[in-house]
């Protein structure tokens, strides 16, 4: 059985990378999954070229939500905001590996939803962001 609880997931859950807060973030967003009670906050500091200079996540919840948030921080570091915008849910799911039920998908994708909400808010383009968020 391809359990989603791989060594990698457990490692990120127990030893999260980039967990905490930034002193001067340009982007901050937070959301929760009411079903599970998972909470994720993402903070991004940008350089002059709108690239991600530093990133942190904070929160609590299941291994899937916390590990995927930590993996996402590593993925976005150094990326341009436009590239952050285009991160797909498939990328996150391939990082996690294993099979997820529809309910647990919400756990896995919460951090991406939070990140994109923050980026869209920052870019002032909430109006055309709703459509892309609705798939998460």
């Amino acid at each position: 059985m391809s359990s989603v609880y791989s060594e990698i997931i457990l490692d990120y859950y127990r030893h999260p990378r980039n967990k905490g807060t930034l002193d001067h973030p340009h982007i901050k967003a937070k959301d929760s999954n009411p079903l599970c009670g998972d909470i994720i906050e993402m903070q991004l500091e940008l350089d002059g070229n709108d690239s991600v200079k530093d990133v942190r996540f904070n929160g609590q919840g299941c291994a899937i939500s916390q590990a995927s948030a930590s993996m996402l921080t590593e993925l976005v570091k150094g990326k341009k905001l436009d590239d952050v915008r285009s991160i797909s849910k498939e990328e996150i799911l391939s990082l996690i590996g294993g099979q997820l039920s529809a309910v647990r998908l919400k756990c896995a994708l919460l951090s991406l939803k939070v990140l994109k909400t923050g980026v869209y808010t920052y870019l002032g383009s909430m109006s055309n962001s709703k459509e892309e968020l609705s798939g998460l």
Binding site: M1, S3, V4, Y5, L10, R14, L35, C36, G37, D38, Q60, G61, C62, A63, I64, S101, R104, C107
Partner: protein, 372 residues
């Protein structure tokens, strides 16, 4: 139960009370027989004290609307407890907000029992018009001393609503012995269909209460600018009700009565004692609620080491074991316990000790996966 539903839809699918044709009369008879069976199950004085609703949630909302709006005013209080389900919190929040009333919460001990001194203190301070309390906690399993609390509350002219969603399916409940004013429960937790439930209320209260919803079959006469209403229970059953659901619930009640609520309770108590013992032996296991199986129902909430409840539920699901995980619609209680979520195993008449052994094996496997 399924055959009961099937027979209704295949053989006498008709509305109740309205038709003068044969199958409508059959439907009415079956619907009213179900009401009578339910009245007998909880020992109500009269079947007219049984109102069919969608479930416990609607029953409580009905009381908040029909009784609460006329009997709770500015400065009055509704007393609840920290272990209530959201369905026995939010309707009272809405009422309190509309009426300028206050909510008072009886706290719980670390073992998950109500703090009776707080209960007495609120009553003595005055102004408490209603005490709404669960008979059995859906998270902790605690069986609350409802009978004694009703007697005490009545000394202060405080009415009592009992959330019996976790008690009527599992223990013998006698509303005349409890002497509660309102009692609510759901069909789907007692081998019945979803979408059907019951509000019991004392006849004299029902007679004075305003209707909940207006519509067909709850009226005596309707004119352009006014209407008069039927007697209870029909006054509170507007529109076409869940006829098949009520009939199905009646069949479920027959089944539970045949098995015997005392037998069900004994079986669950034995399973709970067995499970508490087995689960308690696992390392890094934390079990919430009273330790004594004689004063708790058959739900066991737990957390194992740092495994989040949802991860635990997914891992148990891989072994074919269905448990509830999360806040169990009791977020204030989770806050009181200082946890984000718990996993909950619950037992009923069909569960066995062998299944608890499988649960323990699966928990051990989860422990290995998470390397605790």
């Amino acid at each position: 139960m399924i055959e009961g539903l099937d027979r209704y839809y295949r053989e006498y699918n008709a509305n109740v009370f309205r038709g003068v044709y044969q199958i409508s009369e059959e439907a009415t008879a079956a619907y009213e027989t179900a009401r009578k069976r339910i009245a007998e199950l909880i020992n109500a004085k009269d079947p007219s004290e049984i109102i069919f609703v969608r479930g416990t949630t609607e029953a409580i909302n009905l009381v908040a609307h029909s009784w609460g709006r006329s009997n709770i005013g500015l400065g009055d209080s509704v007393m609840l407890t920290e272990m209530e389900h959201h369905s026995n919190i939010v309707p009272w929040q809405l009422l309190a907000r509309d009426k300028g009333a206050q909510l008072k919460y009886v706290g719980i001990s670390d073992e998950g029992r109500l703090l009776t001194e707080e209960f007495h203190g609120y009553l003595e301070n005055g102004g408490v018009k209603l005490f709404a309390v669960t008979q059995v906690s859906n998270v902790l399993g605690t069986v609350n001393p409802v009978r004694e609390m009703v007697r005490e509350a009545h000394r202060y002219n405080c009415r009592v609503l009992v959330d019996a969603a976790q008690s009527v399916p599992h223990i013998a409940v006698d509303v005349q012995d409890l002497d509660c004013d309102f009692l609510a429960f759901s069909g789907h937790k007692m081998c019945g269909p979803t979408g059907i439930g019951v509000l019991y209320a004392k006849r004299d209260l029902l007679e004075k209460m305003e209707p909940y919803q207006g519509g067909g079959e709850m009226i005596r006469e309707v004119h352009l600018y006014e209407a008069s209403f039927k007697d209870p229970p029909f006054k509170f059953e507007a529109g076409t009700t869940d006829i098949s659901g009520a009939i199905g619930l009646g069949v479920a009640v027959d089944y539970l009565s045949k098995v015997g609520l005392r037998n069900i309770r004994n079986h669950e108590r034995d399973l709970t004692a067995y499970a508490l013992d087995k689960l308690g032996k696992l390392k890094q296991m934390r079990i919430y609620g009273p330790a004594d199986p004689d004063t708790r129902g058959g739900v066991i909430s737990f957390n194992l080491a740092d495994i989040h409840a949802h991860d635990m539920a997914s891992l148990l699901d891989e072994d074919g074991i269905a448990v509830r995980s999360g806040h169990h619609c009791a977020q204030p209680l989770m806050e009181r316990l200082g946890v984000a979520a718990t996993t909950r195993a619950s037992f009923y008449l069909y569960n066995t000790e062998g299944e608890i052994d499988r649960l323990v094996e699966s928990l051990e496997r989860a422990g290995r996966v998470f390397k605790i």
